[in-house]
Structure formats: structure tokens, C-alpha cells
């Protein structure tokens, strides 16, 4: 066992200290959104009470304070991602808006009729639909990397898809439905051999894995604050400076301009040219606080503890004869997608809810993956470092009750 003090760490999360239907809350819906530690809640509260003011433009003391906090937050994100420069850190509203920004902007400059964009079959709709919009606008073609039955990318097929028409590869670092950790370093290496840039959708990786963009050498990385214990409404698009320099702004408005006349507008420098309008600046500081919290616990220790949760969870669920697990990758995070016999996922979810266990049921915004698996949905238990093996036992007991009720 690791030295991870989970009992102590749970105390940092006020939400976890409650009961649902008379049962202790078992929060297994972290893949959708993670709970907030006390430090993040306090940070937001303190900002609104003492430092809230518009950033960048106003000539007043309070604004200077807030601007400093916001730009410090950008530096915290840069450090967390091991990026080269804060010019490479664009604040957005979340992963979805990061990918939309990139797809729209990249598409305008680099996508022509017949060009190819490579995605994988396990992508979240947020990393499919923006590229479909680009495809439809510029006449491009989507190429899809298939997966094995275990839920791992077919790397041979991927290599075969890369060619002189490929303009970008956009794949998830970690699958939100299967929990698979994709071999992203290898994906990037192969793409770069073909002179193709890579976007990694890091929404599900950021709470569980190291997202070292220098080590991965990816060209773009997108993630959301709320999945890594930060506030909602804030996200990040990392991009290598050499790429961001070539991309046109996406949304127009305040802050992103240099000078506006009715004839012509010149745009601001990086990273501001991509940050139009009033940014969620308090949330950016909240995100930085969350990243500090995670790094305070130590990513290596989190990863080691979560590996224990994966092993324990896979063993415990596999021990139930009726449970069929989707996603048995060798490298995975504690996300368990499954079905119980022929019981509908929604029935399972409704009963687990009454037992105080919060899971998600449905397609998890990965309908093409559901089609590939030949199912309409799964039950998904997505865990965090504040979850315990005891809670996995509660889930298993709950599933036994489900089996009893519906057989």
C-alpha cells in the first residue's frame, strides 16, 4: 500500500462529508466533474471579498492586484504543463471551448478541400463535432483510428492513416469512457515524422496523469479546470508558440485587440489575441490554486494511489460474474465502465443513487464508441484520489442488490 493519507485528504473536500438517502455519499462521478478542496473554495471567496476588479485595462490599485493574480495563475499553469512560455497558455472556458477555438482557427488557415484530420473512435463529442464543423466548412475528411476490444488504440492502423494529406491529429490523452491512457508520446512522435501537429484532449488526463507538454512534445493540449478540482468555466488551450503565432484569433472583442478603427483592427500579442471579452479571471486563479493543491499532494503519489484503485476496482468488479467491463487497457485511470447482465444502465444507476453512490449512466458523450462496442450506454464509476477501496466495496454490495432486484 502507498503512504497516501486518503482519510486525511478526504477532509479537504467539504462535499464528501455528507449523507445521501441516509448513506454516506460515494462520489464516483469525477469524470464528469471533480469536487473542490477547501483551499479552492476559500480562494474564490477571498477573491470576491478582497481583490475582485477588472484585469489588464483599468488604472487602479485593485485592478493591478487582480491582474497580477491572473497572470500568476497563467505562470502556475505553464509550470504545471512544463510549457516553454506563458505566451503558450491561453485561458478559455473549458476543454470544449479550447478545442472549438483551435479547430476554427486552425481550419481557417490550414485546412483545404481533401485534407485529412485524424481522430480516434473513443473521442468525446467535444473532440469530434468541432472537427466535423471544420470538415463541412472546408471539405476536409475525417480519418478514425480504431480500437481493440480491450479499448486500446490500434497503433498500426494509426500509422497507416498518416499521410501527406493529414493536417492534424486530435486524440484524447485519456478516454473518458474507458479510462484508457493512450500512448500519446508515440502518437506525437509518429505524427511529427509525417510533419503533422497533434492536439491532445487532456480533459480526463489532467486529474490523473502528468501532462508534460515538453516531454510529450505535443503541439496543442486542452483541458478544463473543473475536472482537476478547480472552478467551472475556466479551461486552457496550450499551443506551441510557433503554431499560435500562425493562427488567427477566433472570437473578436475586447482585450484581444491592439487598435481598432472601422476600417481595420490589429490584434494583440500572444496570449491575449485569443482571450476576447472579460475572461473568467477569478476562476483562473481558482484553477491555479487547485493545481497547487494537486502538486502539494504530489502527482507521483496520486498516480501510485490511483493505480491501486484501478487494480482493486478491476478485481472487485470482475469478481461479479454478471458484470461486463468495457475498457481493459493495460494503462488506465480509475474509470470503470460496465453493464450488469442485461440490466439497463439507467436502472442500475437509479438504484445505486438510492444507495448514495453517484455514478453516471448513458453514452458519456461518446456515441461513436458506443456504436463500436455495440451498446447504447454503460454505467460509469469514475474515481478520484479521494475515493477509497472501501467505497469500491460499497459499489460492489450495491451491484449485488441491483442484481437481486432485477433478476
Amino acid at each position: 500500500m502507498s503512504d497516501f493519507q486518503v482519510t486525511q485528504i478526504r477532509k479537504d473536500f467539504p462535499v464528501l462529508q455528507q449523507e445521501v438517502n441516509g448513506k454516506p455519499l460515494v462520489y464516483f462521478d469525477n469524470g464528469a466533474t471533480a469536487q473542490k478542496p477547501e483551499v479552492v473554495i476559500r480562494c474564490m471567496d477571498e477573491l470576491y471579498r478582497t481583490q475582485y476588479a477588472p484585469i489588464h485595462r483599468s488604472v487602479n490599485w485593485l485592478s493591478d492586484q487582480m491582474t497580477t493574480r491572473y497572470e500568476n495563475a497563467r505562470e502556475t499553469v505553464r509550470k504545471h504543463l512544463d510549457a516553454y512560455s506563458t505566451n503558450e497558455i491561453i485561458f478559455t472556458n473549458g476543454t470544449t471551448s479550447s478545442i472549438n477555438l483551435l479547430a476554427a482557427s486552425f481550419g481557417r488557415v490550414f485546412i483545404r478541400p481533401g485534407d485529412e484530420i485524424i481522430l480516434s473512435v473513443m473521442e468525446h463529442h467535444s473532440n469530434i463535432v468541432p472537427w466535423q464543423m471544420v470538415r463541412d466548412q472546408y471539405g476536409a475528411v475525417l480519418k478514425i483510428i480504431p480500437i481493440s476490444d480491450e479499448g486500446e488504440l490500434d497503433m498500426e492502423a494509426y500509422e497507416g492513416l498518416l499521410n501527406e494529406k493529414t493536417r492534424i491529429v486530435a486524440v484524447s490523452h485519456v478516454s473518458n469512457t474507458l479510462g484508457t491512457v493512450n500512448p500519446v508520446k508515440e502518437i506525437v512522435r509518429l505524427a511529427h515524422e509525417a510533419d503533422v501537429p497533434v492536439l491532445l484532449d487532456g480533459a480526463q488526463a489532467i486529474p490523473h496523469q502528468r501532462a508534460d507538454v515538453t516531454d510529450l512534445d505535443c503541439d496543442f493540449y486542452a483541458f478544463s479546470g473543473h475536472k482537476v478540482y478547480g472552478p467551472t468555466g475556466i479551461g486552457v488551450l496550450y499551443g506551441k508558440e510557433k503554431w499560435l503565432e500562425k493562427l488567427p484569433p477566433w472570437q473578436g472583442g475586447g482585450e484581444m485587440i491592439n487598435r481598432v478603427t472601422f476600417e481595420k483592427t490589429t490584434f494583440n500579442e500572444l496570449p491575449f489575441k485569443f482571450e476576447a471579452g472579460t475572461m473568467p479571471f477569478t476562476e483562473a486563479v481558482g484553477l491555479a490554486t487547485a493545481l497547487d493543491y494537486v502538486n502539494g499532494l504530489g502527482l507521483n503519489r496520486i498516480i501510485a494511489y490511483e493505480e491501486e484503485l484501478v487494480d482493486y476496482g478491476m478485481r472487485a468488479l470482475s469478481a461479479l460474474e454478471q458484470v461486463k467491463i468495457f475498457g481493459r487497457a493495460t494503462q488506465k485511470v480509475p474509470v470503470f465502465s460496465f453493464l450488469v447482465g442485461d440490466i439497463h444502465q439507467y436502472d442500475t444507476g437509479m438504484v445505486l443513487d438510492k444507495l448514495g453512490i453517484a455514478v453516471r449512466t448513458g453514452s458519456h458523450c461518446t456515441m461513436p464508441l458506443m456504436d463500436r462496442l455495440g451498446i447504447t450506454g454503460t454505467v460509469r464509476a469514475s474515481l478520484s484520489f479521494y475515493n477509497t477501496t472501501d467505497e469500491i466495496d460499497v459499489l460492489v454490495t450495491g451491484l449485488k442488490q441491483v442484481i437481486q432486484m432485477f433478476s
Binding site: 439497463h344 444502465q345 439507467y346 436502472d347 437509479m350 438510492k354 447504447t376 450506454g377 432486484m405 432485477f406
Partner: protein, 147 residues
């Protein structure tokens, strides 16, 4: 004597009053699902599929002797029970009765959370579809006084 919608609602409330635990309520819904007036399997198609549900729910209505009769099904068992309950309350009444009904039994039997629009189990969508059917048959049945 045919019962009114409100009489059936009160009947349902009385039945559920005996069930204090959620387990018992769910088990009763599962049982009710077994007695649902089943939709003809040939009609289980896109036309009768109700949008806005996590599980698939089919609903069909026919008009007979000025009354509407519903049949339905779902691939999730608790949802099927909820559909059965709604059909039991609404089926066999005139379009006017169906349109003018306020369903008070849902909150009374402790299923209100299941009717919340944020819960995508389709109860709200089912109810809306029933009222659409009623509206359609009412329009079809009534002579047009507009001109």
C-alpha cells in the same frame, strides 16, 4: 362506473402510502412495468420513440369512443414502471380530461425527483407526448368553428 383521472390518482397514492422504503417503491414500479399495456412490437419505431430519455421509451395512442387509449414500453425496467403508471392514470379518458389534468400523484408518492426535467428518465417527455396526442385527437374530433 368509469373512474375519473383524479380518482385513479388517489388510488395510486393509497397504494404507494403502504410503501415507505424506496426499495419497496422501486420494486412496486418494477411490478407495475410487467402489467403495462404493451405497444405492438411493430410500432416500436422512431415514430413512437420519445426523445429526451436516457432509456428508450415508446408510446402509442389510439382513439376509440371519444377516448384515448395508450400503449407503451421501455428498455429500462423502472422507466417502464413509470410509463405503466402514467398510462394507468391517463388511458381511457377524453382528450379534454387528459389536457385539463394536473398530475398531483407524482409528488404525493415520492417520485417527484423522477419528474424533474434534469432527470432524463423521460417522465416529463412521456407526459408531454400524452398531452400532444390528446391535443391532436381533440383537434381532429372537433368541428372547426374558426370560420
Amino acid at each position: 362506473m368509469i373512474k375519473t383521472i383524479d380518482e385513479i390518482q388517489n388510488e395510486v397514492i393509497e397504494e404507494f402510502a403502504l410503501l415507505t422504503e424506496w426499495m419497496d417503491k422501486y420494486n412496486y414500479l418494477i411490478e407495475l412495468g410487467r402489467s403495462i399495456p404493451l405497444i405492438d412490437s411493430k410500432l416500436k419505431n422512431e415514430d413512437h420513440l420519445i426523445r429526451g430519455c436516457q432509456s428508450r421509451v415508446w408510446l402509442e395512442a389510439r382513439f376509440e369512443d371519444d377516448k384515448i387509449f395508450f400503449t407503451g414500453d421501455s428498455d429500462a425496467i423502472i422507466t417502464k414502471g413509470i410509463a405503466a403508471l402514467l398510462i394507468r392514470v391517463m388511458s381511457g379518458h377524453t382528450p379534454e380530461e387528459i389536457l385539463n389534468t394536473e398530475l398531483f400523484f407524482i409528488s404525493e408518492i415520492g417520485l417527484k425527483e423522477n419528474l424533474s426535467p434534469t432527470r432524463s428518465n423521460g417522465m416529463t417527455a412521456m407526459l408531454r407526448q400524452m398531452k400532444y396526442y390528446a391535443l391532436a385527437y381533440q383537434a381532429k374530433n372537433k368541428p372547426n368553428h374558426a370560420d
